[in-house]
């Protein structure tokens, strides 16, 4: 169960404040969880007092509720409506600006100078769940893996410091265990924490993933982890695995989905689907965007904007003469088969990490695991 790590340490709960301090001193913009609008979301934090201490989330189909706990556990919640993609792949982004000359237009020379020259913020992400570590790895492949690297993503992703937090409890719509992405972090972090509350003792088990992680920890009071600590870590992760609210069998999944492209289930789910795109907006791996060109009134200045888009809109598949995916059935099928089948052909990995966000934030509670199960069990 214990993954690949250089060494394992522990630090007391009070050291968490020093961790945030240390990162700030190192010029990181620390992004962490906080309560807003009835959910746990991610934004800049300046100390640990804004963390959702003593809160947890209850998630089911189309439903999310915060609950107060009677203890001071910091990380006993799973994932909210947002993911780290909001910082790495912003929903609205200026790509370039240009202006008209008497003959032709000025375009920025992207080779000579980056699109935006401002010094990018160096992000430290505090509280990245194992499924989301995998989601970041999936988007790394999408945006940086091929011959065309996305300069915006690359800039925002570079120099990230990632503090993963292993899940002490799984959410009602979680299925990371099925997808092999959790509930324990195995790679993709600088340090990974596991929170332990034993009677009065409140501490974190720390796995060090990178040299930089070890470096940062030098400013904190750490002890070597004992066998008992490691046993506690193992126990927590095993318990969480047992708690998964959902499961999804991935055996042969790609060919099952390809072979069942005309399965009647697509049509019956289409009658429920609102094509509202919430599932794709909250999904930490969905990467689609549209381009909007805007001008000023004179027509002399123009800007190109990139905005999150989704395969659930008609515009998304619009080509001359109409939309390719006019029916809801075609759009819903596109989303599921992209996540679980064609993603493999495209990027060599599944596009779903089992975070369950799409199930929770679907206004009518459509559940990707139930859809796949129905098709698997009633193949045409």
């Amino acid at each position: 169960m214990v993954g690949i790590h250089l060494k394992t340490l522990i630090f007391e709960r009070s050291e968490l404040d020093h961790l945030v301090e240390t990162l700030k001193r190192r010029d990181y913009k620390v992004i962490g969880p906080l309560l807003r609008g009835g959910a746990i979301v991610y934004d800049e934090i300046t100390n640990t007092s804004s963390l959702p201490i003593g809160w947890t989330d209850e998630r089911s189909n189309g439903k999310y509720r915060l609950k107060n706990r009677d203890d001071a556990v910091v990380f006993d919640w799973t994932v909210g409506p947002q993911s780290w993609k909001r910082f790495l792949f912003p929903p609205i982004q200026k790509i370039f600006a240009t202006h008209k000359r008497p003959k032709g237009i000025d375009l920025p020379n992207t080779k000579k100078q980056p699109v935006q020259e401002t010094v990018p913020a160096k992000y430290a992400f505090l509280g990245v769940r194992p499924c989301d570590l995998h989601a970041i790895a999936v988007q790394d492949k999408v945006f940086l893996g091929g011959p065309y690297r996305d300069p915006v993503y690359e800039r925002k992703r570079s120099g990230n410091f990632i503090i993963a937090v292993n899940c002490r409890q799984a959410g009602g719509t979680c299925f990371c265990a099925s997808m092999g992405t959790g509930p324990k972090a195995t790679s993709g972090f600088d340090i990974a924490l596991t929170e332990v509350l034993e009677g009065k003792r409140h501490y974190f088990i720390v796995e060090v993933g990178t040299e930089l992680g070890g470096e940062v920890l030098k400013s904190l009071k750490c002890l070597k982890a004992t066998d008992e600590n490691l046993a506690a870590l193992k126990e927590i992760c095993e318990k969480t695995t047992q708690q998964m609210g959902r499961s999804l069998d991935t055996t042969n999944l790609k060919s099952i989905l390809y072979q069942n492209s005309e399965h009647p289930r697509w049509e019956s789910t289409a009658s429920r689907c609102l094509t509202c795109a919430n599932c794709t907006m909250v999904c930490p791996t969905c990467f689609c965007a549209t381009i909007e060109d805007v001008t000023d009134l004179s027509g002399k200045q123009a800007e190109r904007m990139r905005k999150w888009d989704s395969c659930f809109t008609l515009d998304f598949s619009y080509i001359h003469g109409g939309s390719v995916r006019a029916s809801t059935k075609a759009r819903y099928r596109q989303w599921v088969t992209h996540k679980l089948a064609s993603w493999v052909d495209q990027f060599g990995t599944l596009g779903c990490v089992g975070c369950g966000r799409c199930i929770t934030w679907c206004p009518v509670g459509i559940d990707i695991t139930e859809e796949v199960r129905t098709i698997r069990e009633n193949q045409s």
Binding site: R36, G37, G38, A39, V41, G62, K63, Y64, R65, L66, G80, P81, Q82, R86, P91, I92, S271, R272, C273, L274, T275, C276, A277, N278, M281, V282, E292, D293, V294, T295, D296, L297, S298, G299, K300, K307, W308, D309, S310, F312, T313, L314, D315, T328, T360, W361, P363, V364, G365
Partner: protein, 271 residues
């Protein structure tokens, strides 16, 4: 959208005729015209490129048609209006309707579900002088409309975008997808999922930048049905959560009550 006269970009602009814009009012509250006046800072720059030839809400001065672009606010509710809209159309190269009244019949289309004569006798002492049609109908039911801008009222930024696009001969950026996309792009936590709000966002066209959810309210649907609106699924879901039919009728019978998808949905839940 017809392209702007190119030369108006340089110094000869003053000599070249600027495109003429006219604003027309039918049955409405004037809120959408106010959105144009609300463009305070942007209004002067607009007049550099466009001649506001007829805009009674702003000025009594008016110059004759034909007009390059007409903005029409309000619905058709009287025999006189039904005549007048044809005159407007004849004088307009491009006719754009603005707001829920002009695009769907407005809140006054609530009469369409009842007998208008009963309202008249209930409201007026003497019904003799009241000349009204049985139904409040959108402009597109009467004349050809080049472009519809939704909202109750319209969003001034969208209005500027459409005028801007017209001037520059480009497609306006006014997507027909759901309000939910705007919610998510602004990181607004979903009211429906976190608080069980009866939010019409998933079936309503974007354009307000998720105004109500940003104030922790569900969407009232004032931009009307989005593309491929699945209103019956949302109703079925709310029914299953215990929401009664008469509440669903009220939800769909707002400013866009007579827009096809919302009308059918409210009728489906009426006893």
């Amino acid at each position: 959208m017809s392209p702007r006269t190119k030369t108006s970009m340089n110094k000869t602009a003053q000599k070249i005729r600027k495109p003429k814009l006219a604003v027309w009012k039918f049955s409405s509250c004037d809120g959408c015209q106010l959105s144009l006046l609300d463009c305070e800072e942007e209004l002067l720059p607009i007049t550099e490129y466009i001649e506001i030839a007829n805009f009674p809400e702003a000025s009594r001065a008016s110059s004759k048609g034909p007009y390059d672009i007409s903005l029409v606010e309000g619905s058709i509710t009287t025999p006189h209006d039904a005549e007048r809209i044809h005159q407007v159309r004849r004088q307009s190269k491009v006719l754009m309707t603005i707001g829920a009244c002009a695009t769907a019949g407005g809140i006054q289309a609530l009469r369409n579900f009842k007998d208008v004569k009963q309202f008249i006798s209930a409201v007026y002492a003497n019904a003799k002088y009241i000349e009204t049609l049985n139904k409040s109908t959108p402009i597109a039911d009467h004349v050809f409309v080049d472009f519809e801008l939704r909202g109750c009222p319209i969003n001034k930024l969208q209005l500027l975008e459409v005028i801007n696009a017209f001037l520059n001969g480009r497609k306006p950026n006014t997507p027909a997808s759901a309000v939910c996309l705007e919610c998510k792009r602004r990181f607004i936590t979903c009211e429906l999922v976190t608080h069980g709000a009866l939010c019409l966002g998933p079936v309503t066209q974007a354009g307000c930048d998720a105004l109500c959810p940003s104030y922790a309210r569900g969407c009232f649907g004032c931009f009307g049905p989005k593309e491929t609106p699945n209103t019956s699924s949302l109703s079925t879901y709310w029914n299953s959560l215990g929401i009664k039919d008469d509440e669903l009728v009220r939800l769909f019978r707002g400013f866009n009550a007579y827009a096809e998808a919302f009308r059918r949905e409210s009728e489906a839940h009426e006893k």
